[in-house]
Amino acid sequence: MSVTVLRGASPAASPRRTHRFRRVAFYVHLWLGVLSTVALIAISITGIALNHKRGLGLMPEVKHEPTAAFSEAIPLERLAYAALLAAPESARGGWKEGEVVDVGVIDRMDVRPRNGYVKVRLRDNASMEVTVDIATGNVLHVGRRGDVFLEKLHSGEAFGGTNFVILSDIAAVALVLTLITGYWLWLVPKLSRGPARAGAEGV
């Protein structure tokens, strides 16, 4: 009885609106899903690779214990010099042995006092990284940082700087909308079927 009264109170406007919503949700789901497929696959694959960057060898792990107290560390300029000297010629820019350290070719220097080394990352295409002992200046490792490029590809920066992060933003918004509309498309038929089934069962 109460079900009949409620149905009488809303004269078929609600089902029509629900149908319209479902139609919009379906097309949003379809169009955004197709449009963002390639971008989302790329973002997902690069994301998985970044999660496992150590296992995949994209980020070299150098095991090292400090050889002296941190207070005895040699100056940053000397460490950078040692790193540039050990780096492949293609990664050094125009820098040559004996010249003053060119800070333009150095991206960053990541000092790890507990490990006793500094990671000097260069600004070449391969993001070459040289690991140097901060107490002795000995080069411990020279290798590429593949994860730097994958990070840029993941965010969209690889296509031309920070403005291009809009690409991954668009893909993320598309994914969120696709998920919400997918959920809606799954849930609404169940909700609308609910009272009918309940009525058929004689509740």
Binding site: G146, L150, K152
Partner: protein, 96 residues
Amino acid sequence: MSMSITAFLTGLYLVPLVLLAWGHRIRRTTPRGQRAFWGAIIGHCVAGLLALSFGILTPELWPDTDAVRGFFGLWAMLLFPMLGALAGLLFTPTDR
């Protein structure tokens, strides 16, 4: 924005948009149109895989002089669907 990046963005977003619009009521189009459509779809799928593979493998920025990575990474998603559509048009049997 360089020509390659424009081609890449066109292949990434505009080509799927065109394919979606084209695929709407595809069953009502001619067999040639259908073949061209499926050719373009296959072209875009293959191009997406190639772009991803060439983009990621050797994970480092590629210089402008690297024509192979530049072609597959940036141009393939625009050109392959066109080639696929063309192939679909050319190889449609006409004697039926």
